[in-house]
């Protein structure tokens, strides 16, 4: 039985096809999920892809959070369903309070697209098990509102519990507190990050193939 990984399309999602391609290259079956549908079609994991859901009007991810599909995802994520939020997906996870904190306008106020070096700080989550803790990877980053903020107490808590999953190396591209690029929930099944692993799955089109590890991780986790 092949593993089914759902990829949600909100109005304004952009990297949904890329995420589906990455899932396929990792050996799983991508399943398209529609924002207006509460049904998760029996998927084993869910990806909230990048893009500008609802134009990112109001705040990034703020309107998408209230879509029917998110009701089910929030519920099942609390019950352990692996969920990966990439960029806009990360913003949706924060707005949905599945992850703490918020993402704000980049400190330099510009959209930025660059190949970004990251350190994998936590290789125990559902989406990072195929990496080694401390491993350095390079994947594209592209966002206008990627500055991770949370109050000091939350930040300390994240650090103490090992819930900072990725940290920016070389440059902090958006003013994120403590160079945080991605975090996880306490259970380790929900991961959100600003950079785009789905754009680093083929040597032809990506700066590296480091991104594949995300998608193979969840596969291994689910088969195990």
């Amino acid at each position: 039985m092949t593993t089914r990984v759902g990829v949600v399309t909100f109005p304004g999602s952009l990297d949904d096809r890329d995420a589906a391609r990455a899932v396929k290259l990792a050996g799983a079956e991508p399943v398209a999920l529609w924002h207006g549908d509460k049904d998760l079609r029996q998927v084993d994991a869910v990806i909230l892809p990048g893009g500008f859901s609802y134009g990112d009007y109001l705040r990034c991810g703020a309107i998408a959070r209230f879509s029917p599909v998110m009701e089910t995802i929030v519920e099942q994520a609390r019950a352990g369903l692996p969920v990966l939020g990439i960029c806009n997906g990360f913003q949706v996870l924060c707005e949905s309070h599945l992850l703490p904190g918020a993402l704000t306008r980049n400190d330099h106020l510009h959209f930025i697209c660059r190949d970004q070096r990251l350190r994998v700080e936590n290789a125990d989550t559902a989406w990072t098990a195929d990496f080694a803790a401390g491993q350095e990877i390079t994947v594209p980053l592209k966002n206008g509102e990627g500055g991770y903020v949370a109050d000091e107490r939350t930040l300390d808590e994240l650090e103490a519990e090992g819930r900072v999953v990725f940290r920016y190396l070389d440059v902090n591209p958006n003013g994120s507190r403590r160079d945080i690029a991605g975090i996880t929930n306490a259970a380790g099944n929900v991961v959100g990050l600003m950079p785009h692993p789905e754009h680093a799955v083929e040597a032809l089109t990506g700066p590296t193939t480091d991104g594949l590890g995300f998608f193979t991780s969840v596969l291994r986790k689910l088969v195990a």
Partner: protein
Amino acid sequence: MSPTSHARPQLDTVKHAAETPDTPLPWAELGLKQDEYERITQILDRRPTGAELAMYSVMWSEHCSYKSSKVHLRQFGEKAPASDALLVGIGENAGVVDVGQGYAVTFKVESHNHPSYIEPYQGAATGVGGIVRDILAMGARPVAVMDPLRFGAADHPDTHRVLPGVVAGIGGYGNCLGLPNIGGEVVFDSCYQGNPLVNALCVGVMRHEDIHLAKATGPGNRVILYGARTGGDGIGGVSVLASETFDDSGKPAKRPAVQVGDPFQEKLLIECTLEIFAEGLVAGIQDLGGAGLSCATSELASAGSGGMRIDLDTVPLRDASLSPEEILMSESQERMCAVVTPENEARFLEICAKWDVIATVIGEVTEGDRLEIFWRGEQIVDVPPRTVAHEGPVYQRPFARPDWQDALQADDAGALPRPRTADELRAQVLRLVGSPNQADKSWITDQYDRYVLGNTVLAQPEDGGMIRIDEDTNLGVALATDGNGRYAKLDPYAGAQLALAEAYRNVAATGARPLAVTDCLNFGSPEDPAVMWQFAEATRGLADACQTLGTPVTGGNVSLYNQTGEVAIHPTPVVGVLGVIDDVTRRTPMAFTEPGQLIYLLGDTAEEFGGSAWSQVVHDHLGGRPPRVDLAAERLLAEILIAASRDGMVDAAHDLSDGGLIQAVTESCVRGGLGARLVVPDGLDPFTFLFSESTARAVVAVPRSEETRFTDMCVARSQPVTRIGVIDGDAIELQGRFAIPLAELREAGERTLRALFA
């Protein structure tokens, strides 16, 4: 100046117009000339109604009717080289090219110059939106955008208002649509100070059978308007903004000349339209751009059988106070108009509802050949649509070679003082590399998403952008745009050919075979005979060169009146070339990445400095003649580059253009993170070797194992080839003269735009 503000208490119906032949109408304020107005009254055999006048005035504007340029543009068709690749030629929303395996590609470049000067962010954003809808209307899925840009002097305060806004607008719209930006241009020159050029290109892909044309046939078929609601945006924008030199008088009060884009709405429009295409639900389709509904209805009807009836009351409005004339002229963005058979109507509306896109049946195709429009039950328009859309005025504008042209060409750049010592040479290399036009553009291009859709094989700063279009077969296309206004100023005929030659060369450098051309012709006022001469020469030059290179022009755009007072911009033909590559994994990137590989120069180098970057940067000089055009040499070079890519004989290639050899080598070295040792070939002096801008040249990196095979091929085909050095170390060294550390070159190139704009 809105038609309603004239004292016309009663609705100006067709009947009323016939009864009141003497009512004065504001045709002059709407940009019509006396004889044009008289022609309208002849066509209709009465005075036009206000609504009809609105339609004719926008559709007969320079922007929509191409009245000054038409007689010259005809050459693109007349001289078009025989090409099996052309599926749809000039005249449709965009041309369509066969790229094999059942795929067709459509691409086009368009200008949004004037709006971007007034409101840089929205002007540029809606420029992207407009060109994307053109491509969509052909039946294609848009897959990438490019943005050739020209600004005033880099250090001028107004450039600091315009550039960041334009870049943010292009990024804001394109990124939000999910279209990778794969290339473009950034050129600074004070001639663009009051007239920045914001051109936008979009490319789309479809299957052959999916090509859609903009025509309305089949009486009883529904005319459906879908997308955003209609507001007062850009009313008069087409005629006032795009066709006349700026002046503040006569803009309608409370009717914004500026259109605001909503990329999210456009994204929904794209997905919704593609789903509609996939189910085969449209008989004809047209995007709404300049001239809004006036344009869409009259063009659809004119290209079809001619008859159409529209009930304007059904148009969903954002502003209930709009008059019927204003609804017809509104340029609200993110709208499309489709012709749909009655059987398909329900499904069409259902798909729109799924995507949250408002869709309304606003009329139907009728028997006969009149476009009739009704408002509150009364007829306000009754016209033969061809006279609005396709039979507008045509001008034979007078043109004359300007009297200063001879003096300009006589002011030979070859006479400028040249660097005498190795130190001077070194210093000038650094100045060149750090000058705004040659400098690294990543401060700009980093604001664009180049990864989205996951098919970007090459993007800036590569010579051409490359997109994979089939993930199984690895079929792909490459695109480059170029245009050098300095060359074109010195000689518009040659300048246009050089623009084509450069874009063609850039595409070939990636390993793709050039197939077809789009162009955006940016010029000053056609009412100035000197400008008109530049235009005539440039179009002639481009048409001739396209014929020689076998690459037909498939479509494009003309932007006139780019001038402030009496002073026109440099004539700036921007040329986009599309190429095809059967296997994108064989692409040739520009970076030098293997120490020890040999660097070869392909092509001949002569002393050519007219219009060169060196003459601009070092001497602030523009004079003489541009580099000699040699299309046979371009063609041969392209064949060599394509063969080398296909057979794996080169690992890197980079074309030579402005800045000459040293600029190209610097870019390839910086990108690859490796230095080079260069030797001046016999018979050349170091200065000419480094800075000349002779055309039909490229540098390539050849693995040692391929050296013989590669040079044999060149010799066998009479391609000039010279070994000029080796990739090595962490500096660029000109043997016996100077060495510049790579870090210093990188820093010089990367610092400039950041220091100016960050």
